[in-house]
């Protein structure tokens, strides 16, 4: 005899009304666009000829892998996303997509991205993409983010890997150039995200995320932003004197680096009121332009070299 009268239970399974746009939002399209751009640069600066179909396949797999990471990040962080104004409109907090749906979507995309890159391009790149997704989801999202104020410092490695994956996809091996790109993004991440954390401090405090401004306070964060920028700027210029990238890149890195440093000093000096808020917003916006500018210069340099023989 059954203890529970099953006929008395009204089964009302949830029927999804999520449309394609909700699933695209799970991929974090804006983050994905930066990943595509940096991976494209990693691919084109590789000193080998890559067939356009294989290049497209590599970039597509890296992009889908990044999207899968975004979906898995939203699956795990839906509770804190609901508490922060910046993320409250994401598909899971809005009730458009359930957590199991996001998990299944992310895992499926991650599987296909890694396997396709491994089968069609090479297994070194496939393995590195798998490691990148693992690092972002397990090490950063599940491990570090709610545990330490150094979350985005260590987790920044995941965001810095796409150009390395692309280089490995093109060449099948590693070299100094992609590692320089990795280091530039790695040291760029803390000033960028801590600037965001400074003007979104209330959000992170409400959600209980131990970002540096929440744990150590705004002034300590301003100092850390300045210190990381002091490391970042010469590091970004260094490929020029070391002979890896040419003078055009060096000049752009110097000019943009001067801007980045000036804005970081401004954030360090202005600590009160609307001026402090404006200074952090400016640094945050400029840091995106800074990274885009450095990588765009490398891309344009390759394009210029390719078309120069046709023009002259």
């Amino acid at each position: 005899m059954s203890v529970v009268d099953h006929n008395a239970i009204e089964l009302s399974p949830r029927i999804s009304e999520a449309d394609v746009a909700d699933y695209i939002a799970l991929l974090k399209p804006r983050v994905m666009s930066l990943v595509i751009f940096t991976a494209l640069v990693g691919l084109v600066i590789a000193p080998v000829h890559v067939h356009p179909v294989l290049a497209f396949t590599s970039i597509l797999c890296i992009a889908v892998g990044a999207g899968a990471s975004g979906a898995l990040n939203m699956w795990y962080e839906s509770d804190i996303d609901a508490l922060m104004s910046r993320t409250a409109n994401r598909p899971i907090p809005r009730g458009r997509v359930t957590r199991p749906e996001a998990l299944a979507f992310g895992m499926t995309l991650a599987f296909f991205a890694v396997m396709t890159l491994g089968i069609l391009v090479n297994w070194y790149a496939g393995a590195l993409l798998a490691f990148t997704i693992f690092f972002y989801v397990v090490i950063y999202t599940i491990g570090l983010k709610r545990w330490t104020a150094q979350n985005i410092v260590i987790g920044g490695a995941a965001g810095a890997l796409p150009p390395v994956v692309a280089w490995v996809a093109a060449t099948g091996s590693l070299s100094v150039e992609p590692l320089l790109l990795f280091l530039i993004i790695f040291f760029w991440t803390p000033p960028h995200f801590w600037a965001l954390a400074l003007f979104r401090n209330d959000d992170y405090t409400r959600a209980g995320v131990p970002m540096l401004p929440v744990v150590a306070g705004p002034d300590a964060t301003r100092l850390q932003i300045l210190l990381y920028t002091i490391v970042l700027v010469p590091l970004a210029v260094s490929p020029w004197p070391l002979g890896y990238f040419d003078a055009a890149y060096g000049m752009v890195a110097l000019i943009l680096g001067a801007g980045m440093l000036a804005l970081a000093i401004n954030v360090y000096r202005r600590r009160e009121g609307s001026e402090a808020l404006r200074a952090t917003r400016r640094l945050f916006a400029f840091s995106i332009f800074y990274l885009f500018g450095l990588f765009a210069t490398l891309l344009l340099d390759v394009v210029a070299r390719a078309i120069a023989p046709l023009v002259w």
């Binding site: 029927i15 999804s16 009304e17 999520a18 449309d19 394609v20 179909v53 294989l54 396949t57 297994w123």
Partner: protein, 54 residues
């Protein structure tokens, strides 16, 4: 006499039907892209597609 009883099981609303159709089309397109991708890479690599060094 007409049978006015509701059909058994789950009846989808128009919004649910529309979103399910959208999702089905997106999955079909993604699978189509995957097939074309594998075909194109096989054509590009030729016999080398069978060479799989680790």
């Amino acid at each position: 006499m007409a049978d006015n009883r509701q059909p058994d099981g789950i009846v989808l609303t128009e919004a649910q039907k529309k979103s399910r159709r959208q999702r089905s089309i997106a999955i079909a397109l993604a699978l189509g892209v995957l097939v074309v991708l594998f075909f194109a890479v096989t054509m590009v690599k030729g016999p080398a597609v069978l060479v799989r060094p680790m």
